[in-house]
């Protein structure tokens, strides 16, 4: 495994977006992972649509018929991947632009740009997460956002942080040592793309510590999924 890795340097990460006042983080995490997978499969970075999932994905958990994706009221990335496999794929942002609220579904199968081949859930193990990140591209992850409302920059490594997950984001890379005030040793960290616009955090990004002393900080290792895209010429 490389000491540092960042998919942004390889052109696999699209622009930072803004979900606005709508609980649709799950669709941004899903679209970001598929953008990366599509890039790896085709060499092209397509900016994909979240609105198609907000409007059209009401997929439910296989084991719990009441646990369904529901637009601005929340969803789950693995269920969204299932929806995308069933619907045939995802349109581009350009063809199905983001509205920040749920509307009637306007999915147009003839305009599919990216298709999910399959997806999988990565074990709660930081080496496996790093290996899947390097091999399959950016990963859809859940996190506890308790410290993110006041976050401005640096490597977040709270002494106390809950592990129940309430936010979906995209893991795009990792670093071996990040900025820390002199009295703290430098912390290795994950690089996370958020969907709150570029005027939040570090130009829209968040860094959280990782490593043997800081495993699964704020639950960051506990809901990680990877997706592979169908290769289209």
């Amino acid at each position: 495994l490389p000491d540092d890795f960042d998919w942004r340097e390889h052109g696999a990460v699209g622009p930072v977006k803004d979900q606005g006042s709508c609980g649709s983080c799950w669709s941004f995490s899903t679209s970001g992972a598929l953008e990366g997978a599509h890039f790896l499969a085709t060499g092209k970075l397509e900016v994909l649509s979240e609105q198609q999932m907000v409007d059209c994905d009401h997929e439910c958990d296989a084991s719990e018929s009441r646990a369904c994706d529901s637009g601005c009221n929340g969803g789950l990335m693995t269920t969204a991947f299932s929806y995308l496999m069933k619907s045939g794929g995802l349109q581009s942002e350009k063809d199905y632009p983001y509205a920040g609220r749920e509307n009637t579904c306007k999915f147009d199968k003839s305009k599919i740009v990216a298709q999910v081949k399959n997806f999988s859930v990565v074990p709660v193990n930081e080496d496996q997460i790093a290996a899947n990140l390097v091999k399959h591209g950016p990963l859809a992850i859940g996190i506890n956002a308790a410290y993110m409302q006041t976050y401005i920059g640096g490597v977040s490594c709270p002494f106390i942080c809950g592990k129940h997950l309430d936010h979906g984001v995209l893991l795009v890379g990792y670093g071996s040592a990040g900025y820390a005030p002199i009295r703290f040793k430098e912390k290795p960290y994950w690089i996370i793309k958020n969907s709150w616009g570029e005027n939040w955090g570090e130009k829209g990004y968040y860094k959280i510590c990782r490593g043997p002393h800081d495993k699964n900080k704020c639950g960051v290792d506990s809901m990680v999924s990877t997706v592979t895209a169908i290769h289209t010429s």
Binding site: L1, Q19, S21, C22, G23, C25, W26, D61, A62, S63, E64, A67, D69, S70, C72, G74, G75, L76, T78, T79, N118, S120, V121, V122, P123, D127, Q128, A130, A131, N132, G142, A145, Y147, Q149, T150, Y151, I152, G153, G154, V155, S156, C157, P158, F159, I160, L165, H167, G168, Y179, A180, F184, K187, W196, N199, W200, K207, C209, M223, S225, T226
Partner: protein, 114 residues
């Protein structure tokens, strides 16, 4: 390494009273700057007063976060006039996975050495 960590948390508790009382002027100045920076306008004076009290509480919360999370920088963000509940309802959105379901599609273990 461990000691500063523990002291830090303890310090956080002791420091609860220190400087936590934001002067009215302080909060007003910060809030006016926040309104300008993020282009905030409120329905009426009552709504603005309410948002300013939420903002002052979030300043204290940012200070607590700074003590508990010293390797990051915490402070005023575009969400500083929202209560934690409003923030959670409007800007998160991850649904809990069903407790029943076995984890689908387990990823194969990848080699990580060499």
């Amino acid at each position: 390494e461990e000691d500063p960590l523990i002291q830090q948390v303890v310090g956080g508790g002791e420091g609860e009273g220190e400087g936590d009382e934001l002067g009215e002027l302080d909060a007003e100045a910060h809030f006016a700057s926040f309104e300008r920076r993020f282009g905030r306008t409120y329905r009426d004076a009552g709504e603005r007063a309410h948002r300013m009290s939420v903002f002052a509480a979030n300043l204290r919360r940012a200070r607590r976060h700074q003590r508990l999370d010293p390797t990051a920088t915490h402070g005023v963000t575009k969400f500083s006039d929202l209560t934690p509940d409003e923030f959670r309802d409007r800007f998160l959105g991850l649904r809990r996975p069903s407790s029943l379901g076995a984890a689908p599609h387990e990823a194969p273990i990848l080699p990580t050495d060499g």
